[in-house]
Symmetry: C2
Subunit: 139 residues, 2 copies
Amino acid sequence: MRSGGYNTKSKQMILDFLQEYSDKTVTVSEISEYLERNDNSVNLTTIYRYLDKLVLQGLISKYTDDTGKKSTYRYVGENSFCHEHLHLQCSTCGKVIHLDCEFMNELMDHITQSHGFDIRCDKSILYGKCKSCKEKENM
Amino acid sequence: MRSGGYNTKSKQMILDFLQEYSDKTVTVSEISEYLERNDNSVNLTTIYRYLDKLVLQGLISKYTDDTGKKSTYRYVGENSFCHEHLHLQCSTCGKVIHLDCEFMNELMDHITQSHGFDIRCDKSILYGKCKSCKEKENM
DNA sequence: ATAATTGCAAACACTTTGCACCTGT
DNA sequence: ACAGGTGCAAAGTGTTTGCAATTAT
């Protein structure tokens, strides 16, 4: 494991899970349930502690869900000097869409220039309703 | 008071406070402290309950702060068929900037068209660092 | 050997609920 | 009179902390 820590099955499984779902944000209980399903139940405390470390290492990002009660985490990886992008999260199904387009870049540039405000993409989520949830609603 | 409720000093003061700071989001403790300062201490329960009602009436919007621990509220008013706008909140000083520009509208339109995702502006906050906090940092 | 990890119980912070009492209309 | 508002204590939730026991190196 990186950063001088010891290697344990629990830590490895948590990281695996985060990597597998790196296209969305996952909750602590989702991680916990995954570990249970795979016969490696881990105390919530342990999960929180390991997640804190990963956040510090910059391997994952921490967010707050739409209700403001739970935290969610997303794997971003260590070579995450990748292009900045915003996240759209559906308040209904939780799906996350990565947003990186010329319009976004134009907006970000404009904000920096006109307001002097630097957006932290990894701290921001735009909430709304995704296509499929809208469709389901109209059935 | 609207919506058939009774009129009380506490409710009036809470609404006044929200209106006075309608350009930013305020926390429950800020409301509570304001009431204390003005010799009208109100139990937190009461504040939460009234805020819930105001949210239901659509007079205020509820957000989650950057840390994900506290809720924040912002007065939007009842004639809030005003132009949609996003909010930029400085993670350092808490200042809120209302964002409504052509670039934002272009981006929103693009997102609706390309992803079928409808952003709820009143649910979304972009976090980052404002100009003055950046300047203070470099002193 | 010893530093890191873990589980448990308890503490925490914010929010919500149940209930008896009070207040505005 | 009575629907609505309020305070208090208690419960609820997600998260964090202290500590002793265990494990990886």
